[in-house]
């Protein structure tokens, strides 16, 4: 963590550069790359929440696709059954509420366990949701999924716009705003006493319990918060994609979320964000260049795990600390 601080010290400048970069993006890159970036930023929100569980609480979930699906389907089903409510300021709270409910129920079962058992259980429960979304086709559209139309905002309608126009216009700024709000809130959570308690649980469960932290309850809170982040990401993703299918609740998708987090590095706060952005480009270009894209993605994952366990951001942080303190390198 000490290395990290030395890397982020000129933090404010970096944040300003990143924010303005994100805001000016529609003018710089093509619509195609912009939409790809928007997919990345929705996953980045999910990965931020995911990392609260993996990096800060020490629980690896292979089922976060379920809460993503909860948010995405929350939006899509509202569109289908309550067309009057189809407005962003209502939809986002709905998505948060639904993902809160589902992650509270699933989390209650999961947090009784840790390690492998926790991972399998989270996986199995997400497959439960998958099975329900898949089988109740008259409600959820089954494997065809549901269409998500362009939403309104405070009575203002964008119905005359086509989706790319909507995405590169208003929605892009909305997305960037939501992302930074989520980022700042997560930063506060991590640095709050609650966040410190989670880290204490991760580092030593027995000791944490002895100083009076209610381990299981805190794990459940962390689970719910990260589930809601997934739901928020899922809802925002639904508008970008325009279409939701049960696949987002399948455990393979959850595995991709884990992949993103690790690719960026879960030891660094901003790591998962970097990972989510890179992963999207990696996957798309692998899919575009070869039929065997899963081979490339899988091989990349294995190489990262073997060679660069800190992920991209972890590697950068280490590099930066080496450049700053060359004496360390000489000593080592």
């Amino acid at each position: 963590m000490a290395q990290l601080k030395s890397f982020v010290r000129p933090g404010l400048i970096i944040y300003l550069v990143v924010i303005s970069g994100f805001l000016f993006l529609p003018r710089i890159v093509s619509t195609f790359n912009l939409i790809l970036f928007q997919y990345g930023i929705t996953f980045a929100i999910v990965a931020l929440g995911f990392n609260l569980l993996l990096g800060y609480t020490g629980l690896l979930s292979f089922g976060h696709g379920a809460y993503f699906a909860a948010g995405a389907y929350g939006v899509a089903m509202t569109a289908k059954y309550f067309p009057d409510l189809f407005s962003l300021e209502i939809l986002i709270p709905i998505a948060l509420l639904i993902s809160f409910l589902i992650s509270a129920i699933f989390g209650f079962v999961c947090v009784r366990h840790t390690k492998i058992f926790f991972a399998i259980l989270a996986l199995a429960l997400s497959m439960l949701l998958y099975a329900l979304l898949f089988k109740f086709y008259h409600l959820t559209g089954g494997s065809d999924g549901l269409y998500v139309k362009i939403p309104m905002l405070f009575g203002h309608t964008f119905a005359n716009m086509r989706r790319p126009q909507f995405l590169s216009g208003f929605y892009h700024y909305f997305l960037v705003g939501m992302f930074f709000a989520a980022y700042i809130v997560m930063k506060c959570i991590v640095n709050s006493p609650f966040g410190k308690a989670l880290q204490a649980i991760r580092d030593n469960e027995v000791r944490a319990e002895l100083i009076g932290i209610r381990v299981r309850r805190y794990r459940l809170y962390a689970f719910i918060i990260s589930g809601m982040y997934s739901g928020l990401g899922g809802a925002l993703w639904g508008f970008v994609n325009g279409h939701v299918t049960p696949d987002v609740s399948h455990w393979i998708f959850s595995g991709e979320l884990v992949y993103m987090t690790l690719l960026g590095g879960f030891g660094v706060f901003a790591g998962p964000v970097v990972g989510a952005l890179i992963f999207n480009f990696l996957k798309l270009y692998a899919m575009g260049s070869t039929e065997y894209w899963m081979f490339i993605i899988g091989a990349t994952l294995i190489i990262i795990v073997l060679v660069l366990p800190g992920g991209v951001a972890g590697g950068l942080a280490r590099l930066a600390s080496r450049i700053k303190q060359p004496s360390d390198k000489g000593a080592a």
């Binding site: 079962v109 492998i116 199995a124 899988g298």
Partner: protein, 288 residues
């Protein structure tokens, strides 16, 4: 129709038992959840299906033998490579990395299958057709399903004998009971770990080879059985062979009755049973 439902349930149980047996041995001895287990199962299935289509002309039921052998052997070989190159460097690493490396292996294997056998389905129903049907209480029933149950029973008994009576079996159980103490007693943990991983992979390949005459080999063949095996492992308890048996019986019967009576929520009911067991008994039916 009741006897048929029960028999179907037993058939599902038999093949899920074989898969979860391999998964459970690896989990018990190495403490590793192998997400690529379904892919090893698919490799066994594809290899067996390929063998059957090569030998199909004028064949008798005995073409099942080379099919089972090649399927098992290829899956075991893949298991050996996977253990040696991917799992072994991970022994000392945290759980997240171990799980992720098997997830990477899953993606690799799915595309390796596509590279070797192409993206198309392979139909290998010759043994299934050759065995024909038998009459059970007035209902015709495929004899091949009975053969699967029989073989699963034989393999189950053999594994139990192996674990209970042989020297290596006792050493494997010692490792799964107390890894540190077993190391201190001088057991060669790495070599036994490799052995158990290859054994698990071979069991996965065997069950794939056994099942493939009843259903065409497709891409993504191992995904659904893997999930069922996870449910079995969760229900029965990590690393418990008895748990795997009981768990697969529950899952098999639920599935059979579910398909007959409540097809829409069949999978959901199965998960609910698993969740109910876990809330009542968090370590699973026979977990430690």
């Amino acid at each position: 129709m009741w006897p048929i439902y029960i028999l179907n349930g037993l058939y599902f149980a038999a093949f899920i038992f074989l898969i979860s047996l391999g998964l459970n041995i690896i989990l018990g001895v190495m403490g590793l959840l192998n997400l690529a287990h379904g892919s090893l199962y698919a490799i066994g299935a594809f290899m067996a299906a390929w063998t059957i289509t090569r030998l199909a002309e004028g064949a008798s039921i005995f073409i099942l033998l080379p099919a089972l052998l090649t399927g098992t052997a290829l899956a075991a070989l893949f298991g050996l490579f996977m253990e040696y190159f991917l799992i072994r460097p991970m022994y000392k690493r945290a759980l997240e990395y171990q799980l992720l490396i098997t997830f990477g292996a899953l993606m690799l294997f799915e595309d390796v299958i596509k590279m070797i056998w192409g993206g198309e389905a392979i139909y290998a129903s010759t043994p299934f057709v050759l065995l024909g049907r038998v009459n059970i209480l007035g209902n015709p029933y495929p004899a091949y399903f009975l053969l699967v149950m029989l073989l699963a029973l034989v393999v189950g008994v053999l594994i139990w004998l192996f674990m209970a009576k042989t020297r290596i079996g006792v050493m494997l159980r010692a490792i799964s009971l107390d890894r540190e103490m077993a190391t201190a007693m001088g057991l060669k943990i790495n070599r036994l770990g490799t052995f158990s991983f290859v054994l698990g992979a071979a069991l996965a390949g065997f069950s794939g080879a056994l099942v493939v005459p009843t259903t065409p080999a497709l891409l993504g063949f191992g995904m659904e059985p893997l999930i069922l095996a996870f449910i079995v492992v969760v229900m029965g308890g990590l690393g418990s062979l008895k748990g795997a048996l009981i768990g697969s019986l529950v899952v098999g019967q639920t599935r059979s009755l579910g398909i007959a009576f409540f097809p829409e929520i069949e999978l959901a009911v199965m998960f609910l049973i698993a969740a109910a067991i876990l809330v009542a008994k968090p370590e699973g039916l026979f977990g430690r």
